[in-house]
């Protein structure tokens, strides 16, 4: 491109409206008698305009890829289990599941126990079905980590968490009570915390987000690929819904060290 044209370097700045007033008038005078600049302006103005439409940089949360794969695997395993139990399948889903969906008007509303939203409902289809076939206590695998979380400042709120490797991925059963209702747009996030974690130099991995019900209660099932041997503590923070995947909010619950 450089050799094809004698690039007038003001051109891009002109398109991005970054020239001072005098430079701008000078460049506009130049445009009136420079055919190749006018042509190039036409070529690049679309890209300059589109640039202005891009949202600020954002990143999907670390670990979401693993949670997506785990959720699909769990749904697939549940389907196989249903098939093995002789349930007829409709459109790749057991008929029983479809009936449940219709009865609840699914993907349009669920029973209170599952009405928790956030990452919990993210695995809604899987949790629904597996929750049906396998109660929490029937989940395969033995717990790797059982923890009680409490508010560090003695405020309201507590939770219990049980982490187990099911053979289809790691599942976290998480129940909380009495958590304060957050302002609109904020959400709670559960973290696995490793040694040496500080706000400035974090060593933690998100296990997902959740919204408690109006009484501050939640009962969710999350998926994570984190090894609790390396990230042995659990923490819940209140995060602004700003798209930033890092921990920025205050800690509201924490497991006791060494638990």
């Amino acid at each position: 491109m450089a050799d094809r044209r004698s690039a007038h370097p003001e051109l891009a700045a002109y398109l991005l409206d970054a020239l001072e007033a005098d430079e701008r008038s000078e460049f506009e005078r130049h445009l009136t008698d420079c055919h190749s600049c006018r042509q190039e302006l036409r070529e690049l103005e679309g890209a300059a305009e589109l640039l202005g439409r891009a949202p600020p940089p954002y990143g999907a949360p670390t670990g979401l890829e693993d949670r997506v794969v785990a959720a699909v695997k769990e749904a697939a395993a549940a389907e196989e289990a249903a098939a093995a139990a002789g349930e007829p399948a409709v459109d790749g889903r057991p008929a029983r599941y479809l009936r449940r969906e219709r009865a609840r008007g699914i993907l349009g509303g669920w029973a209170p126990r599952l009405a928790l939203a956030g990452a919990a409902a993210a695995v809604l289809a899987a949790a629904f079905l597996v929750g049906d076939l396998l109660g929490d206590e029937d989940l395969p695998g033995t717990p790797e980590l059982e923890a009680t979380l409490e508010a560090p400042s003695g405020d309201a709120g507590q939770a219990t968490a049980s982490v187990r490797e099911t053979g289809l991925g790691r599942v976290i059963l998480f129940e909380s009570g009495d958590l304060p209702i957050l302002p609109e747009g904020e959400l709670y996030e559960l973290w696995f915390v490793g040694p040496g974690d500080t706000v400035e130099d974090p060593n933690r991995i998100s296990a997902g987000t959740f919204h408690p019900d109006e009484r501050g209660n939640s009962d969710v099932r999350l998926h994570a690929a984190v090894d609790p041997a390396q990230f042995p503590e659990l923490s819940v923070t209140a995060e602004p819904g700003d798209g930033n995947p890092e921990r920025t909010g205050p800690e509201v619950l924490r497991s006791a060290p060494g638990e």
């Binding site: 891009a12 809604l124 959400l187 019900d213």
Partner: protein, 194 residues
């Protein structure tokens, strides 16, 4: 449309959907996630407004993708269109669900009927376009990306940008020019006629 050259992996999207339909999970899911997961998450942020729901949208879209992979027909449209259509339906369903149970969501999603409207074709296409542009910017070289972001996000003059980058104004001008050219190429690779 075939997958852009810059996307992860080499298998094309249709092939991956075929493998997903045939019962394979890990690799096709992971490759498709790396190609589209970020943009679907971005869609969730833009259309649903919070990280929890954005994450839920990604999970729900991939569950639907797994369930409907066998229905994908390359003769009727691109895999990309198929995936974004699933994401759009999932976003509409989530808004509808949120509207039906306002006490469970931290924000107001209006009435059930407005769900479809809020995620109508035109708006959805605009948001996907803006995310494609973001994706194109993210693939530019660090220097090109930086100079374009400084122009756009901060309302600085070229003199101020030069001070920030600690280089002569002339360098900022030429770098901006080549950055814009590089962006145009990235956009063209995505079939976007900048």
């Amino acid at each position: 449309m075939s997958a852009p050259a810059a996307t992860p992996g080499t298998a094309d999207d249709s092939e991956l959907l075929g493998r997903l339909a045939a019962g394979e999970q890990d690799e096709p899911l992971r490759t498709l996630y790396r190609r589209y997961g970020g943009r679907i998450y971005g869609l969730g942020l833009q259309l649903l407004g919070d990280r929890g729901m954005a994450e839920e949208l990604v999970q729900e879209t991939f569950l639907r993708l797994w369930r409907s992979a066998r229905r994908f027909d390359a003769g009727r449209g691109s895999a990309r269109t198929f995936i974004f259509t699933l994401a759009r339906r999932a976003a509409i369903d989530m808004r509808r669900r949120a509207a039906a149970r306002p006490q469970e969501r931290p924000r107001d999603f209006g009435s059930d009927e407005s769900a479809e409207l809020a995620v109508d074709d035109a708006r959805f296409d605009q948001v996907v376009l803006s995310l494609d542009v973001r994706d194109a910017i993210d693939l530019l070289s660090e220097k090109h990306r930086e100079v374009l972001e400084l122009h756009y996000r901060r309302d600085l003059t070229q003199q101020q940008i030069a001070e920030r980058l600690e280089c002569p104004v002339g360098t900022v001008k030429t770098r901006t020019y080549y950055a814009l050219r590089a962006l145009k190429l990235e956009l063209e690779e995505r079939g976007i006629d900048g």
